[in-house]
């Protein structure tokens, strides 16, 4: 083997038994990947014959900002409500009251097996109509919370089921009531075990909120669509859109990653 291939291998490939990349490997390879990405993107742009027209967007910065704020509040509200709904559904599925249990099963399975788009239409054009709910923001929050709540309920449920029978038995044995057992023994452990998945679900929630633009909710995606139609600059408007979502989702993802790492060392 020549010296050059050896050097290449040392830099690009982890050696056997090597746990993680060295600092030098990290920088060199990250830069390499970035360069390849830029090259591919530049090539595609050139072939697609696009010309940048960022200045067309600047008059509309307010529209973006308002949309972004709406997306942020919508996500934050839905995040809280979906957590409440998720826990309620998970507990209902374990309830000894059978109608409650079966209702929860039906709701969760329906939501998980149909597209969000369909649910938005059903809730907005039938549900909201039926109760004369005209506020799109509230209707949107409810839809998104139900959708995300169904997924959260499954995460919470597996977290709860991860707490062994023997622990529930010792909780009983020391004289805790059912409620006290949930509060002091089951929930703390279930929460710790499901936090990484929950954080991942919250990232999805933020992105899923973009579908609410179809009921005319003026969130970030709707803003981008409007700007695109005013300026005929699809590409630029949607790049701003992507950046707007990243600002919300990247911190959540990093948090999830951090939690996962910490869990690995704790147990």
């Amino acid at each position: 083997m020549s010296k050059l291939t050896l050097l290449f291998n040392r830099t690009l490939v982890l050696r056997e038994r090597q746990e993680g990349a060295t600092r030098a490997q990290l920088w060199i390879n990250a830069a390499l990947v970035l360069l390849i990405g830029i090259a591919l993107g530049g090539f595609a742009l050139k072939r697609a014959n696009l010309s940048w027209q960022w200045d067309l967007l600047t008059p509309y910065w307010r529209l973006y900002l308002d949309g972004w704020k709406t997306t942020l509040t919508l996500s934050a509200c839905s995040l809280l409500t979906s957590a409440v709904i998720g826990v309620t559904l998970a507990l209902s599925r374990r309830s000894r009251i059978l109608p409650l249990r079966y209702a929860a099963v039906c709701v969760v399975e329906f939501i998980r097996s149909t597209p969000l788009l369909v649910q938005i239409y059903i809730l907005f054009y039938i549900g909201a109509e039926a109760v004369h709910l005209e506020n799109r923001f509230i209707a949107g929050t409810i839809t998104l919370s139900l959708f995300s709540g169904a997924y959260i309920s499954e995460i919470v449920r597996s977290g709860i089921e991860g707490v062994g029978k023997s622990q529930i038995e010792s909780a009983k044995a020391i004289g805790l009531t059912r409620f006290q057992t949930y509060r002091h023994v089951i929930f703390p452990q279930a929460l710790r075990a499901s936090l990484p998945s929950l954080a991942g679900q919250f990232v999805s929630l933020v992105k899923d909120s973009s579908l609410l633009s179809i009921i005319g909710l003026n969130e970030l995606t709707q803003s981008a669509r409007n700007v695109a139609s005013f300026t005929f600059s699809n590409f630029e408007s949607y790049l701003v859109l992507a950046a707007g979502y990243c600002i919300c989702t990247v911190p959540l993802s990093l948090w999830a990653r951090g939690l996962e790492n910490r869990m690995r060392y704790e147990t």
């Binding site: 023997s166 622990q167 038995e169 010792s170 909780a171 009983k172 044995a173 020391i174 004289g175 805790l176 009531t177 006290q180 002091h184 023994v185 703390p188 452990q189 710790r192 147990t267």
Partner: protein
């Protein structure tokens, strides 16, 4: 303690775990249950602990008949300390917090009072050095001793121990048995399931032999071990001695 079992039955999927188990013990400090595995010892102990409900029959502990509805059971369980074979400490809590939980939540003691009680018990058994450790960082013997401390800390009238040394390495068995001995010397009332025959004959006021869901024999250990009446106990003893 006074313990009275009247035709206690319990079956799982139409298989009997206990079938008309009856016995009566008076003025008793320590009762040891022995018998082949699958005979129904744990089931009986769990019924006395209020963790299992019999299909029929009655259990009377200290003049009080156990009522098997959930509300009464919660109160009953608070009067009894239970130690399981597999320790069953709460893994998300430190040793000290494991002791605080029954005190503050089940018995409603204030935090400071509970802390005093818990630390007192821990130091009494030289466990105070482990107070802030989580169960995962403790040895089997240490875990079991903390589990026993947790069962004691609420001053229960009766302590039930289900094979507290069976999941331990032999070298850790002694430290746990010594602790059980100490409980006895402190005058605590206890019911213990064990396969440690030497320990049983030393520590028991009365021994009950349970097989096939029945209490076949009971009596003081000296009598029971020297002159077993039923063939089941004779076989059981000869097997245990050969071990």
């Amino acid at each position: 303690m006074k313990l009275e079992l009247n035709k206690v039955c319990r079956s799982f999927d139409s298989r009997h775990a206990l079938l008309d188990a009856s016995a009566s013990f008076e003025k008793l400090q320590s009762l040891v249950l022995i018998g082949p595995s699958g005979g129904g010892k744990s089931t009986l102990l769990r019924i006395i602990a209020g963790l299992e409900t019999p299909d029929s029959g009655s259990v009377i502990v200290n003049e009080k008949r156990i009522a098997f509805d959930e509300a009464s059971l919660v109160l009953h369980r608070r009067d009894i300390g239970v130690v399981f074979q597999s320790f069953n400490l709460f893994p998300h809590l430190t040793a000290l917090e494991n002791l605080l939980l029954p005190l503050t939540v089940a018995h409603g003691h204030s935090k400071t009072h509970a802390r005093d009680l818990a630390l007192h018990i821990l130091s009494r058994f030289s466990l105070e050095g482990h107070a802030n450790q989580k169960p995962t960082s403790l040895s089997g013997g240490q875990k079991q001793r903390i589990a026993i401390a947790r069962a004691l800390v609420t001053q229960p009238k009766l302590i039930l121990l289900d094979e507290p040394t069976s999941a331990l390495d032999p070298e850790m068995t002694n430290e746990v048995l010594e602790m059980v001995d100490e409980l006895r010397n402190q005058g605590r009332e206890l019911i213990l399931v064990t396969h440690e025959m030497a320990f049983a004959s030393r520590a028991a006021d009365q021994v009950a032999f349970i097989a096939d869901g029945r209490i076949l024999e009971s009596g003081p250990p000296g009598e029971l071990f020297s002159t077993p009446r039923t063939p089941q106990l004779q076989t059981f003893l000869s097997k245990e001695i050969r071990r």
